[in-house]
């Protein structure tokens, strides 16, 4: 059974802090203009997520969350960032990020989204008999999800869009680990990671340099395909 957690108690404060860090990092992702910096911040977010998962595993006494933490750390803090850096080098992608919406407006929009998340989540979960921690955690997770989605639609570079998607996924994992007693977290997060990996592969395979839609398919011809 989970511990009783309340304000001022260390477990709560710690979890709260880690969630807040995730949110701040999401804003940082939204704020950054340089691709490499974005990747690094994403890696940082992955590390924070791993720590949060581990901490939740500790306070909920749920050992499978350690596995989630490990998965998050290896996948999101190490493998994917490294892969992305390589892609940048290989494909000679522009280092500057092209935005569809200016940085400042997107920050304002981001703040609005956070407010919306809080307005939606906190009242709806009022009577859920859920712990305050879960509710706060869910609000933060929803913010991270929405910010990730915002990043996907306000950035024009494919790579930043991918990172937006992955940060969205971080929000999902954050939500999952925050809900006490949630089963299947490992399986689901692992499955989702597969999807993320597919997308990263796709970016690499299709030589997507600028936008998601700008697939470079010339090399497909060389495979020896008869083209219609």
């Amino acid at each position: 059974m989970p511990l009783r957690i309340a304000f001022g108690a260390l477990p709560y404060d710690m979890a709260h802090l880690l969630g807040g860090a995730m949110l701040v990092l999401s804003f940082a992702l939204l704020y950054q203009r340089r691709v490499t910096a974005v990747i690094n911040i994403y890696a940082l977010q992955g590390i924070v997520l791993a720590v949060a998962a581990a901490w939740q595993g500790f306070i909920q006494d749920a050992p499978h969350l350690y596995l989630t933490a490990l998965l998050a750390f290896v996948g999101k803090a190490v493998v994917i960032p490294v892969a992305l850096h390589r892609i940048i080098r290989r494909l000679e992608i522009h280092r500057e990020i092209e935005t569809a919406l200016g940085i400042f407006p997107s920050m304002i929009l981001g703040v609005a989204l956070v407010v919306l998340s809080i307005l939606v989540v906190l009242p709806t979960t009022l009577q859920a008999q859920a712990q305050t921690l879960t509710r706060e955690d869910l609000a933060i997770a929803l913010s991270v999800v929405l910010l990730g989605l915002l990043m996907m639609i306000t950035r024009r570079n494919a790579l930043t869009q991918v990172i937006g998607f992955m940060s969205l996924e971080n929000g999902l994992v954050l939500a999952a680990i925050g809900i006490a007693g949630m089963p299947l977290v490992v399986e689901l997060s692992a499955a989702f990671l597969v999807m993320v990996a597919f997308i990263v592969c796709g970016v690499f395979f299709f030589h997507i340099r600028e936008r998601f839609d700008s697939l470079d398919l010339h090399h497909l011809d060389q495979v020896g395909e008869t083209h219609r």
Partner: protein, 673 residues
């Protein structure tokens, strides 16, 4: 007993459709079967009319959890009779059908008849609409029998679009009728009757039924498809489409407005039909004078006649709302009688047009002429039909229009200066339409069947063969009976009037006279016919007795034109009046205003060798004010819908994002409130 047999006939007809689809097509089997089954059906429905009574049955198919309910009463029996009589004539005519193209219509013809019978037999809304839509679908397939021609395809598309529109109006109309019921859906008419609609629900039912069934019947302004689609089908099918199918739509109007909606509906219910009917009558008749295609003329005149029937229905609704059941009966009797007679003579005319098309090789008025010499029987039948078209006494159409006029003339009794003035205008419009109809009939006969042949093909036309001839002669005889003894037909209609408006007309209807009221002199068709016969006979005998016998032949007076060249043995065919020239005075006076008709003459300058050309363009007002805006609006909406496609991934995600945020905001809003 009759009802199960009728149901069996429907099933048998649908089965014949399958036979028709089997290759190689068994043409005579299908058409013969149609004729036979229809004849049996006609006898059965006649029996039902002579010994009135209601019967119901249910068949365990149809909507899930509900059976298909069938019933027949004196109203549906009238229309069944009309349907089966015209269908058997059309089927007999089609025994003589030629060519591969006609066989394309083969599987659909029996289905068409069966579907019409089904919608007439239906006793629940689903069965009715099932039959109605099946009817549209099967006739659509036949409209497309020459689908390699683009005009034919366009007509088919417009036709089915309108059919879809009808369905989209009628299904909600029946839905509204059944919404008053609590609990499970009960679509049976008996249940609908028990709870007639009131208030706005009733208004919507009225609007939807008038639009939905009116579109199928070809009421202005929803008639645009009719002069295109009816002529496009093979002639025996056009005959049924004009003769029977439009009547099925009118049957739906009568069934819903008089029967299912109950008697407690307000007076103004009749006005929409009245206005649409008057517009249809005038516009249809005018168009019948302008069309250049034999079958289009007939189709346009169908619009006119449907208008007359709608006027009768509307007037009956008004009278019923004013509690004048005898007046309502008069108007409805006129409408039903006109439906019957128009069904018969229009079928005859279309069959005749088909024979002319086959014999003369064209159905364009300007390429026919002088068929009377080579096709005397067809011409005779056409003349009989045209007497009906022109509503001249003692022809078939006169009695019904006379009844309608009587109803209009009696309607001012209802009171209210507005209504009275409206009736006066209505009477004038009806007279205008009737006179236009007469002009159209003369034009049709005069240009296509009289005069000199305009092409060598027409000059060598062949008379229709035996089965077709018999079909036409039979219908012509029926026209004669309907014209001479309208009282008999009204006797068949009378039980329906008792059912619908609870009025007893039996004292006003006799075999010899038809009276607008029991103690008033009326129209004695046999008497008039006898009078004509006596006068004509006397003249004939006088001539035989006193005048010189025999005659001589000589060339017609051509006002000093040069003699035609030798290779034109019948004279230059274009020096006679054609369809466009006949209509010219009307086109100039009424056509420019109502149909936006424009004449253009391309006269070469002296010395140029090209021929002078004269062209006429016309546009139906419904085209300009209804179809065009609809098309335009649709294009705009399609533009909008199209802009939602081919989005980039980012845009697509933005849409998702917006939807998500909107939903979340709604949830937040709900929680906050």
């Amino acid at each position: 007993m009759a009802l199960p047999l009728l149901a069996a006939i429907v099933v048998a007809l649908l089965g014949l459709g399958v036979v028709g689809a089997v290759a190689p097509p068994r043409k005579n089997l299908v058409h013969g079967g149609c004729a036979g089954f229809s004849a049996v059906g006609a006898v059965l429905s006649l029996g039902l009319l002579l010994a009135p009574g209601a019967a119901t049955m249910s068949v365990p198919i149809g909507l899930p959890g509900m059976s298909m309910h069938l019933a027949v009463d004196s109203l549906s029996a009238i229309f069944l009779l009309l349907l089966f009589v015209t269908a058997s004539a059309a089927a007999i005519f089609a025994l003589d059908a030629h060519g591969d193209e006609e066989t394309r219509a083969l599987p659909f013809f029996p289905v068409f008849i069966g579907a019409m019978a089904l919608s007439l037999l239906a006793a629940d809304s689903f069965s009715l609409l099932f039959g109605f839509e099946l009817m549209s679908l099967s006739s659509w397939a036949m409209v497309l029998y020459r689908h390699t021609e683009e005009t034919s395809r366009d007509a088919g598309l417009l036709y089915l679009g309108m059919a879809a529109f009808s369905a989209a109006c009628l299904i909600p109309a029946f839905g509204l009728l059944s919404t008053g019921l609590s609990g499970d859906i009960d679509l049976r008419f008996a249940a609908l009757r028990a709870l007639p609609p009131e208030g706005w629900r009733a208004v919507f039912v009225l609007v939807l039924v008038v639009l939905g069934a009116g579109a199928k019947a070809g009421l202005v302004p929803l008639h645009v498809w009719l002069p295109l689609a009816h002529p496009a089908a093979p002639s025996h099918v056009s005959a049924l489409m004009s003769g029977a199918m439009t009547k099925v739509a009118l049957y739906v109007i009568i069934r819903v407005l008089f029967d299912l909606c109950g008697p407690a509906q307000p007076l103004w219910w009749g006005f929409p039909l009245l206005v649409m009917g008057a517009a249809s009558a005038v516009l249809g008749a005018l168009r019948a004078n302008m069309e250049s295609d034999l079958k289009s003329v007939l189709a346009a005149s169908t619009v006119e006649n449907v208008g007359f029937i709608a006027i009768g229905i509307g007037l009956a609704l008004i009278a019923r709302g004013a509690d004048l059941s005898s007046l309502a009966a008069l108007a409805l009797a006129g409408a039903l009688l006109h439906a019957l007679t128009h069904g018969v003579f229009k079928t005859l005319l279309f069959l005749g047009a088909g024979a002319a098309q086959h014999g003369g090789g064209s159905r364009v008025l300007q390429r026919l002429g002088g068929l009377v010499h080579r096709m005397p029987i067809t011409t005779l039948c056409m003349i009989v039909g045209c007497v009906g078209l022109a509503a001249l006494p003692p022809g078939p159409g006169f009695a019904s229009e006379w009844l309608l006029f009587q109803a209009v003339l009696a309607a001012p009794r209802i009171g209210g200066l507005g209504l009275q003035t409206m009736m006066a205008v209505l009477a004038a419009l009806m007279a205008l339409a009737a006179a236009l109809g007469a002009a159209a009939a003369v034009r049709l006969l005069g240009v296509a069947f009289l005069g000199r042949p305009r092409t060598p093909r027409v000059a060598a036309a062949e008379e229709a063969r035996a089965p077709a001839r018999w079909a036409m002669l039979g219908l012509a005889g029926l026209c004669g009976v309907l014209g001479l003894f309208p009282g008999l037909a009204l006797g068949l209609i009378e039980p329906a009037l008792r059912l619908l408006v609870r009025a007893d007309l039996s004292r006003q209807i006799g075999p010899l006279t038809v009276q607008p009221a029991a103690d008033m002199p009326g129209y004695g068709a046999p008497m008039i016919a006898a009078l004509l016969l006596v006068a004509g006979g006397a003249a004939f005998l006088a001539i035989r007795r006193w005048a010189v016998p025999g005659h001589r032949r000589g060339p017609a007076w051509a006002c000093g034109f040069a003699a035609p060249p030798a290779w034109l043995p019948f004279g230059d065919p274009v020096t006679q009046y054609g369809g466009a020239s006949f209509a010219q005075p009307l086109r100039r006076a009424l056509g420019t205003a109502l149909l936006a008709a424009r004449e253009r003459v391309d006269m070469p300058r002296p010395g140029e060798t090209r021929p002078a050309r004269f062209s006429v363009t016309a546009r139906d007002p419904a085209d300009a004010f209804l179809s065009a805006p609809i098309g335009w609006t649709r294009e705009k909406l399609v533009d909008i819908a199209d802009s939602m496609q081919f989005l980039t991934i980012r845009r697509l995600l933005s849409v998702m994002f917006v939807v998500l945020v909107l939903f979340l905001a709604v949830v937040a809003g709900i929680e906050a409130s």
